[in-house]
């Protein structure tokens, strides 16, 4: 498409327009997906609680999120008099920008990626480590007690789980030998292909050395996005509504949008790193006729369902339990698996080099 537009608008400007279109093709459907996924989330909890969930606005309540969006858009933006005004408004901007930015390197299909950089996974790690600033700044700038406490809790929680996420990623990188997300997806092709008569399984999670890491990554993803059972940043009985207590109107909605965009991102990362990304689950030729983007979306939706399922069924952790899980279980476990995976690779794949 780039060359098509460039043939009309010249090389430089055509490139610019084409990439602007690509970016909007990622950002706008993402926002639409967030709206629909909030609806799906509410429907899933409702079904698990034997309720009906949103069912008034539009057919089956499908337009509920848009109605909510319009409502908050028309509401008054309240800036507390004690707040640091600039930072107070900056925090939701940071949260949402960061949530969008990470999508720049996600491969949606073979070759279908906006920025195919060598260090894609590091880029994602860098961007997600920025997410903590939206939280800290909002909590501090509100100049109110509950948001501040919540921000402290949330930031300590996020950085604790980032540690184990980092080590889990190293196991995947060791196996794939690359930071490029497309390469990581392609190296997952055809596990056990020799034994199963060519019908291999696509996904690092089918590797017994990496499957435990897939579980650790999934749970860390829950904690990193502050989803239940780790949502004690917004424990209503203790902290009112968490760090966005003082926010109103669209600034409040941006925190929600950012949070759900991060949830979808984590689902996408689960799919890409461990479950074969845009590859079909089984390495069987007819399945490749289905476009890769459909497989990726199916996997993302599946993981989102699991996120919702967990939220509907698991009670909230206490802070000491959360920290114990992060530092005393996941960190040693993921370090041990770095040792295990690299040792195994040295013995089997790289042994001859030494």
């Amino acid at each position: 498409m780039t060359s098509f537009i460039q043939s009309y608008l010249g090389t430089g400007f055509g490139w610019f327009v084409a990439h602007l279109v690509y970016i909007l093709l990622i950002a706008l459907p993402l926002m639409l997906a967030v709206a629909m996924i909030i609806y799906a989330d509410r429907k899933i909890w409702a079904a698990m609680a034997l309720r009906r969930g949103p069912n008034v606005v539009g057919p089956l309540g499908l337009l509920q999120s848009f109605a909510d969006g319009l409502k908050v858009f028309l509401q008054e933006t309240i800036i507390p008099s004690a707040a640091n005004k600039g930072l107070f408004l900056l925090a939701p901007i940071i949260t949402f920008t960061v949530a969008l930015m990470a999508w720049a390197v996600i491969p949606f299909d073979a070759g279908l990626v906006l920025a195919d950089i060598n260090v894609g996974l590091l880029y994602i790690l860098a961007i997600s480590s920025l997410g903590v600033y939206g939280v800290i700044i909002s909590g501090w700038a509100s100049n109110s007690k509950y948001p501040f406490f919540s921000a402290m809790r949330a930031s300590a929680q996020m950085i604790s789980y980032e540690v184990s996420i980092g080590f889990v990623l190293i196991s995947v990188i060791l196996w794939s030998g690359s930071f490029n997300l497309s390469t990581i997806v392609m190296t997952q092709k055809g596990y056990y292909g020799d034994w199963l008569g060519g019908l291999g399984l696509n996904g690092h999670a089918f590797n017994p050395l990496l499957f435990p890491m897939a579980i650790v990554f999934f749970i860390s993803a829950l904690a990193e996005t502050a989803r239940a059972p780790f949502d004690l940043t917004e424990a209503e009985s203790e902290l009112v509504a968490g760090y966005q207590t003082e926010y109103s109107s669209m600034s409040f909605a941006l925190f929600w949008l950012g949070e759900y965009a991060n949830v979808i991102l984590m689902c996408a990362l689960n799919a890409i790193l461990f479950w074969g990304g845009y590859l079909p689950p089984i390495d069987w030729a007819p399945l490749y006729y289905v476009p890769g983007i459909i497989w990726l979306f199916a996997k993302i939706l599946f993981f989102f369902f699991v996120f919702s399922w967990v939220k509907a069924t698991v009670p909230r952790y206490r802070y000491d339990q959360l920290m114990r899980l992060g530092w005393k279980i996941f960190l040693p476990l993921s370090l041990f698996f770095v040792f295990l995976v690299s040792g195994f690779l040295m013995l089997t794949r790289y042994g001859a080099a030494g």
Partner: protein, 208 residues
């Protein structure tokens, strides 16, 4: 053309935000300006093709070090009047450090201009096709192995030092012992009693 534009964009923001780090009245604002400076410095690194260094700059400095800075300045009660008073008394020391840095900069640029640095020694020792993460890896864990282990020791010392300095044992807490809880079985905890009417329950020495 775009690279030149991007370079001047990043460089201007780095310098401007570094200046704001010093001039901002509120220390929290200073840290946030510092973060902006780090971020744009990472942009400059990307322009130099040092993508790994750029990502590390964001992950380590923006994602970790600056978070600690923010924690510290947000939660310490800082008396601004006292800080202003301290400015005068510390000015000679600060001025001296600034002078040393300035002299170092001038010497560095002077040595560069004089041409005593051999350009051939600065070329990359590895083939161009290797991504720079792998290039770093191939050197760091072979030729610079002792420096690398020394870095590990420094990290260990830093960790122990931080714990020694900040950790205070807390008395009077009753931490949850999760292993013990998980090992507990119904047989140890529950007792069925056929209770006669009008008599108290014998708890059998169980503390309540």
């Amino acid at each position: 053309m775009i690279q030149v534009f991007a370079f001047y964009l990043f460089a201007t923001i780095v310098v401007a935000s570094a200046a704001m780090v010093i001039f901002a009245r509120n220390p929290v604002h200073s840290v946030l300006w510092l973060i902006l400076a780090f971020f744009n410095a990472a942009g400059l690194m990307v322009l130099l093709s040092a993508e790994f260094v750029a990502m590390l700059l964001v992950i380590v400095y923006v994602g970790a070090v600056a978070v600690l800075f923010l924690f510290v300045v947000m939660m310490l009660d800082i008396d601004f009047a006292q800080l202003r008073a301290g400015f005068v008394s510390y000015f000679p020391l600060g001025g001296a450090i600034a002078m040393v840095l300035l002299v170092e900069l001038i010497l560095g640029i002077g040595a560069w201009q004089a041409g005593s640095l051999n350009l051939a020694q600065r070329t990359a020792p590895l083939p161009e096709a290797t991504p720079n993460i792998e290039a770093i890896g191939q050197l760091l864990y072979t030729r610079y192995i002792f420096l690398f282990e020394a870095a590990g020791l420094i990290l260990l010392v830093a960790m122990i030092g931080a714990i020694v300095l900040t950790h205070r044992a807390r008395g009077g807490t009753r931490p949850q012992n999760i292993d013990k809880q998980n090992r507990r079985r119904p047989e140890e905890a529950v007792r069925n009693v056929n209770q006669p009417v009008g008599q108290g329950v014998d708890l059998g020495g169980v503390e309540l």
